[in-house]
Structures are given as C-alpha cells and as structure tokens.
C-alpha cells in the first residue's frame, strides 16, 4: 500500500491529498454557472436599457395619438384590434381544450393532445403566417383578420396549456363534492371549477397576448400593405400595426424612422413587460389561494 486514502485520523483537519485541487475545480464550476445566470439577467437589462435610451425621446402624446408622419396612433390601434380579435378566437378554444384535458380526456388522449399543443407551440410563426396567407390572402386580399387568425394559432397552445395547469390545481375534493351532490358535470365545471381557476386562465391569456403582440412574420404576410395615416378598426382590411411598421422603418435607413421604430419598440416592450409581470403576480395570487384554502 503506497498511498493511504485516509491519513492519520489525528492529523489537523486542513485539506490533504488532492482536496485543494478538487476545491479549485468546484469553485470554477460555481463561478461559471453564476456567470451564465448573471449574463441572462444582463441580456434582458441591456436590451431594455437600449430600447429605453433610444426610444424614450421619440415618445410624446403626439407620437401616440396622431397618424403618419407625426405619430404611430393607427399602428397602436391596429395592433390592439388584431390582438383582441386573435384572443377572442383563441381564448374560448384554449379554455375548452384545457377543460377537455382536465375533465374529460383519458390518459392516451391527454398525452396525444399535450404533445400536439407543444408541437403547435414550437411551430415557427412564419410557417403559420404562410399557412394563413395561402388560406385567406393569396389571390384575395390582406386583412387584419387573417393576421389575427395566425396570432390565434400562436396563442392557442399557450392558453390551453396554461389554463390546463391551473385547472389541474383545482382540488380533487371540489370535483368530488359537486359530483356527489347530483349536479351534472358541466354545471360543476361552470360554477365551481372555472370560477376557482379563473385567475390562472386570465394569466395564461395575458401571457399569450403578450407573446402574440410582438409577432411580426405572420403580419408581414397578412396585414402589411396599409395606410399609416388611417385610424381604422375594421378587421377585414389590412390594418396598420406595430411590428410590421417597426420592420418597415428599420429597413428604410432613415434616421428619423429609426428613432420612431425605437419609440414603438419601447411601447411594445413596456406593454409586454407589464403584462407579463402583472399576469405572473395574478397567477401567484390565485395559486396561493388554491393551494392554501
């Protein structure tokens, strides 16, 4: 025996053998992991800071409330309309899918549907845009509605999966209680399950809207040829909207246009950040309410 693994038990408890080297490796791994985590925060911080620094000077009341060339009001209005129409289509569908998953589906149906939703969620938005383009726009005309349809497909899996996760938190005891009272399942769903989970369903929807509001590719294909001066809420014509306008201005190489694009980016980013943070706070509240009755 050349080397003794455990030295004299009576020796002082300072590092011995290769412990010093192992400590250095361990330290290095910890530093690398921490640095990666900090980098993630830094990326978000730098992006936000850049958008604020370059966009803040473009924003004033005129910018928000007037049309081209002084402001981007029509684009903001158009984006709101497109997102609302998309959500009006996606939310009922998404919640029904979530209810199917939690209340009615068998084990195999659940697995298949969850996989489908996750795959749908992973589809590139340009593909969905192209699909809607071929379906509704090609040989016809662009419309905000077709843009909304593409965004609805993007929102659908987010709403369905998010709602399903919250619906699953509704205690089994509540379902049993309503079953045992001789009330039909659907009435239980409407008057007990959904009200209990409503906070989470709203959260999932807001997060989906925040995601869809910034989607650009489908809108370029479906609602990009518009009059930037016209305030319109008619979803059956091409409506001005924020993402395609940012894209257009960035392509032009006009310094004023760049500032305007940054200004719109700031508005969009603020909406998405506030919506996400607000929705998360709401979700945390409703989860707390569900888990500690």
């Amino acid at each position: 025996m050349s080397e003794q693994l455990i030295p004299d038990p009576a020796a002082p408890l300072t590092p011995s053998g290769n412990l010093r080297r192992r400590q250095i490796v361990s330290r290095g791994a910890e530093v690398a992991a921490t640095a990666a985590a900090v980098a993630a925060i830094a990326v978000l911080a730098i992006v936000i800071w850049t958008v604020v620094a370059r966009g803040a000077k473009a924003i004033d009341l005129e910018f928000i409330f007037t049309g081209y060339p002084t402001g981007v009001g029509p684009m903001l209005l158009g984006t709101i309309v497109i997102a609302l129409v998309a959500t009006a289509m996606a939310m009922p569908f998404g919640v029904l899918i979530a209810l199917f998953l939690t209340e009615y589906a068998g084990a195999r149906g659940t697995r298949l549907l969850k996989l489908t939703l996750d795959l749908l969620n992973g589809l590139p938005s340009i593909i969905l845009g192209l699909f809607v383009f071929a379906l509704l726009v090609d040989h016809k005309q662009q419309s905000a509605f077709s843009g909304s349809l593409a965004l609805a497909i993007i929102e659908l899996p987010l709403i369905a999966r998010g709602s399903q996760e919250v619906l699953q938190l509704v205690p089994k005891g509540l379902r049993e209680a309503s079953d045992a009272l001789g009330v039909a399942r659907w009435r239980s769903v409407l008057t007990v399950t959904l009200p209990t989970a409503i906070g989470g369903i709203v959260t999932a929807t807001v997060l989906a809207v925040a995601r869809a509001a910034g989607e650009t590719a489908p809108l370029i294909l479906t609602t990009s040829v518009f009059d930037p001066k016209a305030f319109s809420v008619n979803p059956f014509e091409a409506l001005p909207n924020v993402p395609t306008w940012i894209y257009k201005l960035s392509e032009e190489g006009n310094p004023e246009g760049f500032t305007e694009a940054w200004g719109m980016s700031l508005l969009l980013v603020s909406f998405i950040l506030f919506a996400s943070l607000g929705a998360r706070a709401l979700l945390a509240r409703s989860k707390r309410k569900l888990s500690s009755p």
Binding site: G106, A107, P171, G173, L174, E176, A177, S178, D179, A180, L181, G182, V183, A184, R185, R187, S188, T191, V192, P195, T196, K289, P293
Partner: protein, 296 residues
C-alpha cells in the same frame, strides 16, 4: 318479502312490474349475511358484489342489506374495501377508469348499475360527505345554495339554506356571517357545512366516509350528535376507522376484513348485525379479535 315492494311504493318510485317481481324473489344470500326474522325495509340490497380495480380484486361477494332510517357503520382494518363499498353505493367509483363491479346493488329495488340508470340522478338521491372537509371556495350561503340552485330549486332558497344549516347544527354559529367565505370556518364547522350542503337537496341517503377522522374530539362529538339527530330523516351509512365511534352512533355494524384465502388478500364482509351484538357477542372469531383490539 312483500315489505320491499311496499317500500318502493312508499318512496314514490315508478317501479316497473318486472323489477317489482325481481325484488320479491328470495335473494341468493350466503351464510355471512344475517336477516332479521321479519324482513326489514331495505334501502340498499347488495347481492354478491365483487369489485375490481383492473386485475386487483378489492371486494369479494358482499351480501349486505342496509335498512331504512338507520345508521349502518362499516368498520374494518385499512384496505379491507369498506370505503370502496361505500363509494360504489352512489357510483363515485365510476371516475376510476379500471373500476369494475360484479353482482348487484339494488337501491329501493333498482339496480344502481342498471343500463338506464343515470349516475347524476343516483347522486342526487344519495348524498355523500368525504373524509376531508371540501367546501367550495364560496360563501357559506353559496355552498349550501349551490346544489339547489343548479338543480332548479330556486324557490324558497333562503329557507332551504337555513333549514339545512339548522339540520347540520351549524345555523347558530354562522347565521350572522352567511356571506363570509366558507374557508374561514374551522375544520369541524367546514365538515358540518358539507353535511348541510348534502342535506340541502333532501337526499334519501347520506354516505359518510370517515367524516370525523380529520377532526379533533370536540368537533367529532358534534358530528356524532348531528348524526343522531339526522337519523330517521335519512338513511345513513358511515365508514369509520374508529370502533368506539361505530359503537356510539350505529344501529347496525358491518365488519369487513382482508381475507388471505387466495393468492392476494381480498376485502370480505365478515359479519353484520346489531351494533351491540357485533361489539358485545360477535359470532365470528375474526370480528372478536378486531373489536377486542387484538388486530388492526
């Protein structure tokens, strides 16, 4: 035997003559069931009931009559199938995908698992209270009013809620805060609220699945008093781990046990009789061992 037919008529059921004839027939009972000399009014008549979860058999050949207006306690060690049996009385096991039942459970002469039977209607008449209090996250009032509202019993709702809460011995404690959340009540109050919620739709039977096991002794006492006051108005079946509780509240007691005759232990009904007899002079040595605390 005619009394069973009378019972069906008493309850105002539309009994097809075919079923009436069936219920009049002597049932193929095994020696484990004890019938009184004069056939009592049976609310439930379980005939040769075996229950399976997938390949696993949970209960074997249960023949058990449950008498009208009485409290019947189901006792026995963990895993003996007493809760399984209780939950199959109002088809609460239907939501378990692998659940399968053989034999017949007659309720006032109707097969609970008959093809034309709607389980929502079954539960409308056979209410259930669970081990853990499970009030809805709504106000006290809305908890009790929920089922009547959804069943279309909107007229006189306030009176109905009050009488249900009085029936559950909860009215005096909550009458000034009916709009408060039910989740703010103590565990014992929540459980009495669940009982009020169940009796608000005036069921025929109340099934209680260890209703006091999550409660402290004082709340347990309140629930037991409540059961005495509900007796007669409702037929009550209670599953309990607590033998003293069965001795205190039940008119009749059924003892279930795990029988290891086959390869795997299967829940079996060992003995059913007047509670005083089951505890005082049990006929089966297995019952004697259990009630004297030698096992379980």
């Amino acid at each position: 035997m005619n009394s069973r037919v009378d019972l069906a008529q008493d309850a105002g059921q539309q009994v097809p003559s075919r079923v009436r004839i069936q219920t009049g027939l002597p049932s193929g009972r095994t020696a484990t069931t004890v019938e009184a000399m004069v056939a009592p009014e049976l609310v439930f008549d379980s005939r040769g009931v075996s229950i399976f979860y997938g390949a696993k058999q949970a209960l074997s050949d249960v023949n058990l009559g449950i008498r009208r207006g009485q409290i019947t306690a189901l006792i026995g060690p963990s895993g003996c199938g007493k809760t399984t049996f209780l939950r199959s009385l109002n088809r609460m096991n239907d939501s378990v995908a692998s659940f399968r039942i053989e034999g017949q459970i007659l309720y006032h002469g109707h097969d609970i698992y008959g093809s034309a039977v709607d389980r929502v209607e079954v539960r409308r008449r056979i209410g259930m209270v669970f081990q853990k209090p499970n009030p809805f996250p709504k106000s006290i009032y809305d908890n009790v009013a929920w089922a009547p509202r959804n069943l279309g019993l909107r007229r006189g709702l306030d009176e109905r809620v009050e009488s249900a809460l009085r029936g559950a011995a909860l009215w005096d404690e909550v009458k000034d805060r009916l709009k408060d959340s039910a989740l703010g009540l103590s565990g014992g109050q929540q459980q009495r609220l669940c009982i009020a919620r169940a009796i608000a739709v005036e069921p025929d039977v109340l099934l209680l699945d260890e209703p006091a096991s999550a409660l402290d002794p004082i709340a347990t006492g309140a629930i037991e008093d409540l059961m005495h006051s509900l007796k007669g108005r409702f037929t009550i079946v209670i599953v309990t781990h607590n033998m003293q509780q069965a001795a205190r509240v039940a008119d009749r007691t059924a003892f279930f046990s795990l029988e290891t005759g086959g390869a795997k232990p299967v829940g079996t009904l060992i003995e059913v009789d007047e509670t005083v007899k089951v505890f005082g002079e049990p006929r089966d040595p297995r019952t004697r061992d259990y009630v004297s605390g030698r096992f379980g």
